[in-house]
């Protein structure tokens, strides 16, 4: 059946900002959907509030709305665009929920818009647990014993049925937000209470615990003719009890016989048919009792998902692309399998001849108070995927691709500790982020396979292979490099050991292992991912390394540019960098180069094999990269765009003779090394806050006396403000130096005077070595002291004097030229008391590049990439800064709701996972939209609670008077209230928590507070007030922790006009 001719335009719903449980896999799927529909000649309308996405690039759709993904804004867009249909299956839970809302509010009917891919009934059936269970019963499939509860009483009834331990999940929340496992009554009540509040339907599902069961997932695609295929099966390494997003997973399923696998296959198809997913991709999750094979259905998602992105990358079958085509009426047999160059149809099931391992990446170090045990609520922020010919090889590759300082199964625990056994037992039974290494340690300690299996529930099939690797390590530790002969070296490399890990075990330099290996002629070969296990010729160069006989890389002798990607997402390095890598690759391809991408993050667009000519799905370590470079011999390697990951390799790559292009590594070092940076600033005649680099506690205390407090303290060479703090006195500095960082000669600590009342500014620019063009000047809304990645910002600045902006332009231009930047440079500045200070210079892509590009209608990353290969800005016709007349505000999104107990306060350490953009004719409109995109809703009446630190007291009356004017009543803690009263404004006092009851938290719990302004400083004050912010978060009360933020909120609230929706295409047209 060819495509439906009645459809002329389709609206695609994006997933909005990156949050835990919903990351850039939806940019990958959304971008594919846009392309798939556009090439069929449909008018594609797209809405997504996330500017850091490829899908919101103006070429991807005909009308792109970077607007909040909620039904109210959608109604405006639908009214304007009148699409024939909405495709809600590409944007994760956000899009599905939005589609249901549109239906509930009658908007689909009103404008006669059809949902394609999945209809409301199917979405409801899949997402509503009761309906889902009925549906499963109907087709004879078991679901776990369970109960549904809408209050604590019903929860207790359900508990009777399922018993302890049990799993609690709120309905309609993504990534299992708010769920957990309860082993006792106390935990049960706590989780239920939280879950009822978090669920948009105030509904909980309480499940029989299947802890220790095996978990599988099947990716299914169905077309309108009822043709169904399984694209991929996935087996979880971690047994049930750990959210699948937090589990190590392996594809294909390893421990099922054909008979058992076919049961899962049949069940998956039956589920899709019964739920009524008419077309598109879905995933079905199963639990299997390892003792007897009893099978239960855990859940199904009637949309593409994180797993389908993984399955697409794991097999080479582009699920989202195919699903989009099916949604408009095509059938599977009408579509071609592109990876084989169209030789075969899409209506087949991929067969793979390698093993894929995915390992999630966590950032618990950012949230020290968070519960770091893995449960049914997803907590990871990214993932790495690796391909090897065996499980051992792919596991090893994934471990080193994770970039957590491990190059394999490195020892984690000092086994000589007296409580080593107790630690191991806990880490094995209650999994945390590092369980895989503790498992290795258990084998190192001589624990038996059965013991480890009984403690972890991990299948012996996986465990025995880890044990085997540890046996190899032990054997090797007895040897010296000279003893390692060809056979042994080959055996070790075939098992995936990195040169680095071998060198650690042999206690020699990595270089020595590499040299010996090369002398022996043991080099990786590259095999192709072809969806068909080599049954057909593949024209696509999607490759992975392995140690085998035959290499299929077939490198050409064209001029090539290689782009190194950013590896797994983490806080501080996410989709923004992938966006830059993709743009660099596209620009180079447009200019006629053969492009090579190296990356290991399965969620990304950069690892779509269509983006570059050749894709190497490989870890970004020196060893893995250098082998590809030596094979491909690229003309240039771009390291500026992948964040810190490729930059960490620069020194060694350059030493190895790799042609790194763009800003020289020496210039990067001049910007990153604080002492050299200081010299640079002095040379150019600029200012930076008084600062010092210290290498011991004593030095720190001395230096602090000279600089004076408060101080910003941080280790050198970090991204995302890792371990960055503000200290207000010597005691705090002393604690920081002792507890927070390991200070040494090699890793000094940086002290800067903290400009506590400054306006912060970010500038992105591009330079060809001779000319500088400023991309944009962005004014932060939160004042200095909040990490730039966590601060909202306005483009153009909303109240920074023009002459200051001009001075900033001069200063950053001078800096770029002095450094000899070729490509991008990001500068962070502070403006306080008439002075401009240079805080930081990063001669590389920054987090704001995609945002800026969306605002100015020009891809900075593309311009920069072209500079790197020698095209001047003149040649590119990019000669002057483009300053939009509309305002755009970028707001950060935080994962605090996933980490109950964590203080949701902003500081110098970055904590946000994503961002949204709001566009408006005024700053107020833009900021209001950005807040709306961030999911914040302001109730425009009720009580506003104010409590501020002394430094902010002179400014709080202004906030109070604005809030009063807006119609709020003011409640304040006594110190703050006094200041407000003195200004002649009406205010009611309330107790701080420590001052006795009733206090502010009581008011919050009684829902008597609708808005919070709470600024604080100093360790003690922060901890005293954290209860307020945590309670606010739980009750969904908006809370700002800066006065500047409060003033911006007042502006947004005062925006009374009707919000308009703008397409990026129109905004860009207006720039010319």
């Amino acid at each position: 059946m060819p495509r439906r001719t009645d459809l002329k335009s389709v609206l695609i719903l994006g997933a909005g900002p990156i949050v835990i449980g919903q990351a850039c896999e939806f940019d990958y799927s959304g971008a594919q959907a846009c392309q798939a529909l556009k090439e069929e000649g449909l008018r594609v309308i797209l809405v997504n509030s996330n500017p850091a996405t490829i899908m919101t690039d103006p070429v991807m759709a005909d009308a792109t709305y970077i607007e909040p993904v909620n039904w109210r804004m959608l109604e405006k867009i639908i009214e304007k665009e009148r699409p024939d249909a909405i495709l809600p299956t590409m944007g994760g839970q956000t899009a599905l929920n939005c589609a249901l809302d549109l239906n509930r509010h009658g908007i689909l009917d009103k404008y006669n818009v059809e949902l394609i891919g999945a209809n409301c009934e199917a979405i409801d059936k899949a997402e509503d647990r009761e309906l889902f269970d009925q549906a499963m019963q109907k087709i004879g499939l078991e679901t776990p014993r369970h109960g549904i509860a809408r209050n604590l009483e019903q929860a207790h009834e359900a508990l009777e049925k399922v018993g302890f331990p049990c799993i609690i999940r709120p309905s309609f929340t993504m990534g299992g937000t708010g769920g957990g496992i309860a082993y006792n009554k106390e935990e049960f009540d706590e989780i239920c209470q939280r879950g009822i509040e978090l669920s948009p339907t105030n509904e909980l599902l309480i499940d029989e615990s299947l802890i220790g069961w095996k978990e599988y997932e099947l990716e299914v695609v169905r077309d309108t003719n009822d043709n169904c295929i399984i694209v991929c099966s996935i087996e979880n390494f971690d047994a049930m009890g750990v959210h699948t997003g937090d589990s190590i997973t392996v594809a294909p399923a390893q421990t099922l016989t054909d008979k058992e696998y076919q049961i899962l296959r049949n069940a998956s198809l039956a589920v899709l048919r019964e739920i009524g997913v008419e077309t598109g991709g879905s995933n079905v999750q199963f639990g299997i009792n390892p003792a007897d094979g009893r099978l239960v259905i855990i859940e199904m998602n009637p949309r593409v998902s994180r797993s389908s992105a993984l399955a697409s990358k794991a097999t080479g079958f582009p699920i989202a692309r195919v699903a989009a085509k099916l949604a408009i009426g095509f059938t599977l047999d009408e579509l071609r399998n592109e990876i084989t160059g169209g030789v075969t149809p899409a209506s087949f099931e991929p067969s793979i001849d390698y093993v894929v391992t995915k390992i999630p990446r966590f950032t618990f170090e950012k949230f020290p108070e968070a519960n770091d045990r893995l449960t049914t609520q997803m907590k990871s922020v990214g993932e790495v995927m690796a391909i090897g010919r065996t499980f051992q090889e792919s596991l090893h590759k994934a471990l080193r691709g994770l970039e957590v300082g491990m190059c394999g199964l490195d020892p984690l625990l000092n086994l000589k500790l007296s409580d080593a056994k107790a630690i191991l037992t806990r880490e094995l039974t209650e999994p945390g982020a590092e369980r895989i290494w503790y498992i290795a340690d258990a084998f190192r300690a001589g624990w038996s396979l059965d013991t480890v299996h009984n403690l972890t529930g991990v299948d012996r099939w996986f465990l025995v292979q880890i044990e085997d690797l540890i046996n190899d390590e032990t054997m090797l530790a007895e040897k010296s490099l000279q003893d390692v002969d060809y056979d042994l070296m080959r055996m070790l490399k075939r098992k995936g050991f990195s040169d680095m890990r071998l060198s650690q075990i042999l206690e020699i330099a990595e270089q020595a292992v590499q040299s010996r290996r090369h002398e022996m002629g043991i080099r990786p070969v590259y095999k192709r991912v072809d969806t068909c296990a080599a049954e057909f010729v593949s024209s696509t160069a999607y490759m992975y390394s392995t140690y085998e006989e035959e290499c299929e890389a077939e490198p050409s002798d064209k001029d090539k540019i290689m782009v190194l990607g950013g590896g797994p997402n983490r806080i501080g390095q996410g989709i923004e960098f992938d966006y830059c890598c993709v743009h660099a690759a596209l620009a180079m391809r447009e200019d006629g180069y053969e492009t090579i991408m190296v990356n290991c993050n399965p969620e990304t667009v950069s690892t779509d094999y269509n983006i570059s000519d050749r894709l190497f799905f490989e870890p970004l370590t020196f060893e893995d990269v250098i082998e590809i470079v030596q094979l491909e011999k690229p003309k240039g390697v771009i390291v500026q765009f992948g964040g810190q990951t490729p930059l960490n390799l620069v020194k060694r790559l350059e030493e190895a003779g790799v042609p790194v292009i763009g800003t020289s590594p020496d210039a990067i070092d001049r910007a990153e090394d604080r002492e050299r940076f200081q010299q640079l600033i002095e040379k150019v005649g600029l200012k930076q806050p008084p600062n010092s680099t210290v290498r011991s506690v004593e030095e720190a205390i001395e230096a602090a006396k000279r600089i004076t407090y408060p101080l910003v303290v941080r280790p050198s060479y970090v991204l995302g403000g890792r371990a960055m703090e503000i200290v207000y006195n010597e005691e705090e500095l002393d604690r920081y130096m002792h507890d927070a960082v390991k200070v040494s000669n090699d890793s000094p600590v940086l002290l800067d005077y903290f400009l506590s009342a400054a306006i912060e500014i970010d500038v992105d620019l591009v330079c060809d070595g001779e000319r500088v063009v400023v991309g944009a000047i962005m004014q932060h809304i939160e004042q200095a002291g909040i990490h730039s990645g966590d601060s909202a910002c306005s483009l153009p600045p909303y109240n920074l004097p023009m002459e200051v902006q001009d001075k900033i332009r001069e200063q950053v231009t001078a800096l770029a030229l002095e450094l000899g930047v070729i490509g991008l440079m990001n500068t962070q500045l502070a403006y306080q008391d008439g002075e401009i200070y240079i805080i930081e210079v990063n001669p590389r892509a920054s987090r704001t590049v995609p945002f800026v590009s969306k605002c100015i209608g020009r891809s900075l990353a593309k311009v920069a990439a072209r500079c790197m290969v020698g095209q001047s800005l003149q040649e590119q016709g990019f000669l002057s800064e483009i300053i939009p007349k509309t305002f755009a505000v970028k707001e950060a999104i935080f994962p605090f709701n996933k980490f109950p107990g964590v203080d949701p306060i902003l500081g110098p350490e970055m904590k946000s996972t994503g961002e949204v953009m709001g566009v408006g004719k005024t700053f107020a409109e833009a900021y209001a939209k950005a807040q709306m995109g961030a999911g914040e809703f302001f109730e425009k009446k009720g009580n506003a609670f104010l409590s501020v630190r002394d430094a902010d007291k002179p400014h709080i009356a202004a906030v109070a008077s604005k809030l009063l004017a807006l119609g709020y009543s003011i409640v304040a803690t006594h110190g703050t209230a006094t200041v407000i009263e003195e200004a002649g404004l009406e205010v009611a006092g309330v107790n701080k928590v420590a001052e006795g009851r009733p206090h502010i938290v009581d008011m919050l719990k009684n829902e008597e507070i609708q808005l919070i302004v709470n600024t604080t400083e100093g360790k003690q004050a922060i901890s005293d007030s954290s209860m307020i912010r945590r309670t606010a978060l739980r009750h969904g009360v908006f809370c700002t922790t800066t006065v500047a933020g409060a003033l911006a909120v007042c502006e947004a609230l005062s925006f009374s006009g009707n919000m308009s929706v703008y397409t990026i295409q129109d905004l860009h047209a207006a720039l010319n």
Binding site: N225, D226, N227, I229, I230, P252, Q254, T255, L256, T257, D258, K259, E260, Y261, Q262, I263, R265, N266, P290, A291, D292, G293, R294, L295, T331, L332, D333, T344, P345, S347, F348, E349, P350, S351, I352, D353, Y354, V355, R389, T390, F391, D459, R460, W461, V464, Q465, D468, K527, C532, A533, A534, E535, F536, V537, E548, E549, E550, E552
Partner: protein, 378 residues
């Protein structure tokens, strides 16, 4: 430490690996199968007689072996070629490791070779004759001996293997399909009497017939038509099997008689080719054949697509179909003929494997069609 083993091919290629299973020498046609599951079913599928099977998925043996998953009474494949034999088998139904299973059945096998290199070679050159050599035989003769044996293997063209793998005496089949909770039912149907020709029949075919209430009698490949007709069956089933269909003149003659008698006929794989030959079409040796569990086949009647299990090296030549024999299914991989049906008789056949085992169950409804034909005649 396992001993070494080599796989030599008639084109002179040699692969060095380690010996698993039994040591010794074995020659055959080297083919690959891309199914990621079902190695035990594949090994015990009689259609693999005289073939050395390479499995493209690297870990083979992960679930061990068990009594339930055999598709016949023995291993028929001449040898097994894999990348990796796992250290441990893990599955609640596991009874014996693959290595022990192979040893007990004296199957020569090799691991640790670049099976993808081999697969690409076979893909480009077509199935090649080869020889597996390990243990004392390898020590004595070395690589050269393996090459000599590979070249000496006569090839499958013109080879009648059906009568070699067939049962020698007829018997009544008991037992339905496997179920998760209950395993195999010991069962026999009684609604239809079906005679199944054993050209190398996979047991799952018989089980699926029983599940559809058939009383099944299995007869040797060379059973004359008259003997079968004397049993007064409601339908006759023509099984899958190894080798070249052309030399099986006895079967072709018998099928022609059944067609004349208007008895419902259902053929699978070799059975499909034999039915075509009996109708006057001809068959060809394919360069590579189909061996996998992911092959899309289109039902030409309604355009639906089924994912099928496939294992054949010979095929019916579509150009030679007589007017009363029409194509019902075609492969979406290469357009080759996958199903045929007589327009004037209750007879049809399928080239792939509707009984799956291993593979998807999408084509199982063909068994229901057979039942329908018998019901119509009854």
């Amino acid at each position: 430490m396992a001993g070494s083993a080599v796989l030599a091919l008639e084109d002179g290629s040699v692969f060095h690996g380690v010996s698993i299973g039994s040591e010794g020498s074995s020659s055959g046609e080297v083919v690959f199968n891309t199914s990621m599951t079902g190695y035990q079913e594949i090994l015990t599928d009689p259609s693999y007689a005289k073939q050395i099977v390479t499995l493209t998925y690297p870990h083979i043996g992960s679930t061990g072996t068990n009594e339930e998953d055999n598709e016949s009474r023995q291993v028929w494949a001449s040898g097994l070629v894999i990348r990796d034999l796992p250290l441990l088998a893990s599955n609640w139904r596991n009874e014996q490791s693959l290595d022990e299973f192979l040893k007990a059945r004296k199957v020569v096998a090799i691991a640790e070779i670049d099976t993808r290199r081999l697969t690409r070679l076979l893909r480009d050159k077509g199935a090649l004759n080869g020889c597996l050599l390990s243990g004392a035989a390898l020590e004595a003769g070395g690589e050269l001996e393996a090459l000599r044996l590979a070249k000496a293997f006569p090839g499958l063209k013109g080879m009648d293997l059906a009568k070699q793998v067939s049962v020698k005496k007829s018997f009544d089949w008991q037992g339905g399909v496997w179920e998760l909770e209950s395993g195999y039912k010991v069962d026999s149907g009684n609604r239809f009497k079906v005679v199944a020709y054993d050209f190398g029949v996979k047991h799952n075919i018989l089980r699926m017939l029983v599940d559809r209430d058939c009383e099944v009698t299995v007869v040797p490949a060379q059973t004359p038509a008259s003997e079968v007709l004397a049993m007064k069956p409601h339908g006759i089933f023509l099984s899958n099997g190894p080798g070249d269909p052309e030399p099986c003149d006895y079967a072709i003659a018998a099928i022609a008689e059944f067609l004349e008698a208007d008895i419902p006929l259902f053929g699978i794989c070799l059975g499909c080719q034999l039915m075509a030959l009996a109708c006057g079409a001809s068959t060809v040796k394919m360069s590579l054949g189909h061996h996998g569990a992911n092959h899309p086949v289109e039902n030409l009647k309604d355009g639906s697509v089924m994912i099928t299990s496939q294992n054949h090296g010979f095929a019916v030549d579509e150009k030679t179909l007589p007017d009363n024999l029409v194509a019902t299914h075609k492969s979406l991989f290469d357009g080759s003929l996958q199903g045929i049906e007589r327009t004037d008789k209750p007879a049809f056949a399928f080239q792939g494997h509707p009984e799956a085992s291993p593979g998807p169950h999408d084509v199982a409804p063909l068994f229901d069609h057979f039942i329908e034909l018998m019901a119509n005649q009854k």
